[in-house]
């Protein structure tokens, strides 16, 4: 059995999906490694994925719950609202963070062996997605506790919302991961960037919290907003603006394409720079 290959200077950007597919097991191994390592030597282990959003929800409910419930019609108990936001948000914040640092933290591997580089930031995001799936369990509990009535469409909405967030996260993640290899400024920008983005996303408050039309436009244009709307659309009494969802989806796809292009354009030189 022989496989012909050719090595030459890079001319055009090619996604090379066949190569990604051939190396599909590596997605699994990198994700698996990160998950394993993350909770090694912790007493609570996986419980942390549930505890983190839960504690945050508790705090938000304590300090903001009343104000937000009174001022804007969210239609569902605030803890449910906040936790739904936190869960989706965590995919994004931890995903972008992990992905952006993934190339640098795996530099020793990148410099020593070849495999499609895209696997690295994607696996980092998969870790966040797995965390989300675990945390979803506690969310379902909360739905029962508060007796929130849900529409059957929720089975469709939640995965769709998660997919939009994942696409956005990948877009930002790839862009930042590639930039981080060259410009280490990125790692100082990320915490600030993620925190800032949380304020212009309907994570712990709905879009209707502000009357300022400019602020509302920003909230709507944010590719994450539609995902949050969609996620909450499964609760009876919460109205989804599908136009927003569509804008979000378009925005996230655009970001994704931008991310892939930049990543592929620069990936050949990662080993020289990292």
């Amino acid at each position: 059995m022989s496989i012909r290959f050719k090595i030459e200077p890079q001319r055009k950007i090619s996604l090379n999906l066949a190569e990604l597919w051939k190396n599909r097991e590596l997605f699994y191994y990198f994700t698996w490694r990160d998950l394993k390592v993350k909770y090694k030597q912790t007493v609570l282990g996986l419980l942390w994925t549930i505890l983190q959003p839960l504690i945050m929800t508790l705090l938000f409910t304590l300090f903001l719950g009343d104000i937000i419930s009174v001022n804007s019609k969210i239609g569902i108990p605030y803890p449910v609202f906040a936790l739904s936001g936190m869960l989706l948000w965590n995919i994004f914040s931890s995903g972008v963070n992990n992905a952006a640092n993934s190339m640098v933290s795996n530099a020793n591997i990148i410099k020593k062996i070849y495999f499609p580089r895209l696997i690295i930031p994607f696996s980092a995001i998969l870790v966040s997605l797995v965390d989300f799936l675990f945390a979803l369990i506690i969310f379902i509990f909360l739905l029962f506790i508060y007796r929130v009535s849900i529409s059957p469409l929720i089975i469709l909405y939640i995965p769709l919302a998660a997919i939009i967030v994942c696409i956005t996260t990948s877009g930002f993640g790839m862009l930042l991961a590639a930039m981080n290899v060259k410009y280490r400024d990125v790692r100082y920008i990320i915490p600030f960037f993620v925190q800032g983005l949380m304020f212009i996303s309907p994570v712990i408050y709905p879009i209707s919290i502000t009357n300022n039309s400019f602020a509302q436009t920003i909230l709507k244009l944010n590719p994450l907003s539609g995902a949050f709307e969609l996620f909450r659309g499964g609760f009876t009494g919460y109205e989804v603006n599908f136009m927003n969802v569509l804008i979000s989806f378009g925005g996230s796809v655009l970001l994704f394409i931008l991310g892939v292009l930049y990543f592929k354009k620069t990936e050949n030189f990662f080993a020289d720079l990292a």
Partner: protein
Amino acid sequence: MKPILEVRNISKQFRINQEIQPYLSLRDSITNIFKPKSRKEIFWALDDVSFDVMPGDSLGIIGKNGAGKSTLLKILSKITPPTKGHIIGNGRVASLLEVGTGFHPELTGRENIFMNGSILGMKRTEIIKNFKDIVEFSGVEKFIDTPLKHYSSGMQLRLAFAVAAFLENEILIIDEVLAVGDAEFQKKCMGKMKDINSQGHRTVLFVSHNISAVQSFCNKALYLKEGKVEAFGNVKEITGLYIQSQKSGELANDLSHLFKNKRAKIQSISFIGESTGELDAFSFYRSQIIRLKFVMNILERGKYNLSVHFKTILNQMICNLFTPVYELNEGIHEFSMEIPSNFLNDETYKMDLFVVDNASIPIEVINDIITFEVIDDSERVWFGKFEGVIRPDCITFQKLDE
């Protein structure tokens, strides 16, 4: 027969400023826009390299530090693209530029076998199929479910080698990995790799500073010099050429710019004797006495002595040596140092130099001031490397009952 690897006109260019800075910052990038382009110095790490490798060949790649050996391997393993030229290959390539790539200290031995194997390009089913053999080969059965961080470095290495030994790729690229690890196990690994090779399955490309390992393991050799192919062909011929090429010259001339102090500087370090080499990587035979000459320029009269940290290339300290304290007048003074023959191992060594004021305060410390290599020229029974940082023949054995 068709070559398994056709390397054609491969060139690789680096910009010097990339080499110096580990990474860029946005600020530098922005300020660079306003600077003239000519600031970037271009450096060809590889320059028009072409050669063919036949199926079943073991090719040893030799050359001094900075000759482009590692860059060539990185291009062959697709880690970095060439600037010019192309390579056509016929087979799956596995590269071992490092042993245990992807090993994670928190994962267990078992988990690391899967992680490392899969990074090296093995399929999960292949790893499962070979798992028992890998564990047995590594000899760490007892600790297979212990996190890697509790392994000794020797055990980690064994595990890493064991995974690599079960690669089934047609082309194997190995970089200097045999410079570390215990001899017994290396012998086992080399044996296994050679086995596969003699069956005509595998082609091996092998970089090493250990000329005797290259001689015994390879049938062909490629000698790189300053990014160009100096010679290519039969291993005996090429390695002979390489050793002979170490012509006379100074080990390190004009060192004074390294010294910032205003009292005492080392001007040069050179080798006294018949065979000497060029700046940087110096080669000596093990059977040779190594005499070094230090030329010292004293700018301020005083009591001085020199101190040397003698180390291996892996920063393992061998010993700390120093001269007596001398009362020195302004001007040039010379000192010599002698390392007996058959004392060092075949290894690359380096020295840190301290200029000390009156045996108490170091005035100046220059790390890695010289680097040199010792080549084993003795008749040897096996091609593996002897363990240890030195190999003194003055320690002898005798049979007493005769």
